[in-house]
Subunit: 166 residues, 2 copies
């Protein structure tokens, strides 16, 4: 795997930029097997997760990442751990937050760029049966991690979020 922290940073840059500009587009990063625990509330599946995130009671939000750590998992995925600050609706005092993402390559599918064309390479994975058809993962907003010519489509399988009021 590429450097875990570099992949984690590319992912969270994309995730928080999407969150802060067009929350509903986060749908492309989750699948039906994904779980979100948001301030102790549990949500499962893309629809329930995106309904929760788009329904949060603020109009504008800005996330700032303070620390980012990442480790590969035994299952071949990536664990990403973020602490940061967020500002909502022009508040001047930021709230501290912590968030954990567990990422998996989507069904072992890869997109190889060959002479400017995208060629999809599907590799067997035990996760395949849990995931939606590949086509839904290839929207322009899907998250791709790059090695020079090979991009893995990453989805969020576990997402846990907490504000730290301390």
């Amino acid at each position: 795997m590429a450097d875990p922290v570099a992949v984690g940073k590319a992912f969270t840059d994309h995730y928080y930029q999407t969150f802060d500009t067009n929350r509903s587009a986060l749908a492309s990063l989750y699948q039906d097997a994904s779980m979100l625990t948001f301030e102790g509330q549990q949500f499962q599946g893309t629809q329930a997760i995106v309904e929760k995130l788009t329904g949060l009671p603020f109009q504008s939000v800005q996330h700032r990442v303070v620390s980012l750590d990442a480790q590969p998992t035994h299952a071949g995925g990536l664990l990403v751990f973020v602490t940061g600050q967020l500002l909502t609706d022009g508040e001047s005092k930021p709230l501290n937050f912590s968030q954990v993402f567990s990422l998996m390559n989507a069904g072992g599918s890869y997109v190889r760029v060959v002479g400017g064309l995208m060629v999809v390479v599907v590799i067997y994975s035990p996760l395949s049966s849990l995931l939606s058809p590949l086509s839904s993962l290839l929207s322009p907003l899907s998250f791709l991690t790059y090695s020079p010519t090979l991009c893995a489509v990453q989805i969020v399988t576990n997402d846990l979020f907490r504000l730290n009021y301390g």
Copy 2:
């Protein structure tokens, strides 16, 4: 699996109690494949992890858990996410921290209690080859999760720790 939050709470009660009273005994909760990221520093394997934890520059510490969330993972493990406060060496101002643990049953091994006797049941798992012999996991300080008669030996595969100074 039993209720993820209940298992997570049983684990973290045991982990932080051990941390606060006898840090070196944390060795029983890690294996050679385990990874720790502590304030951005990486450590792999029981020895390196326990050397880091026992070498932290304070004599006494108390952890207090403020929030605990847990989710099952696709790999059959458990992701535990804690925010809390810690006090070192009689300081009166607590430091906020966040910590992530990824737990796996140790090599698919279970301890079944039958008529007051412990009977070890070893079940095949892809992790088996990564783990040390079972005997080392059954010290009195190993962590067991209970269902009525079946206990799974849990180890920490991923551990990520951050202080939040904000």
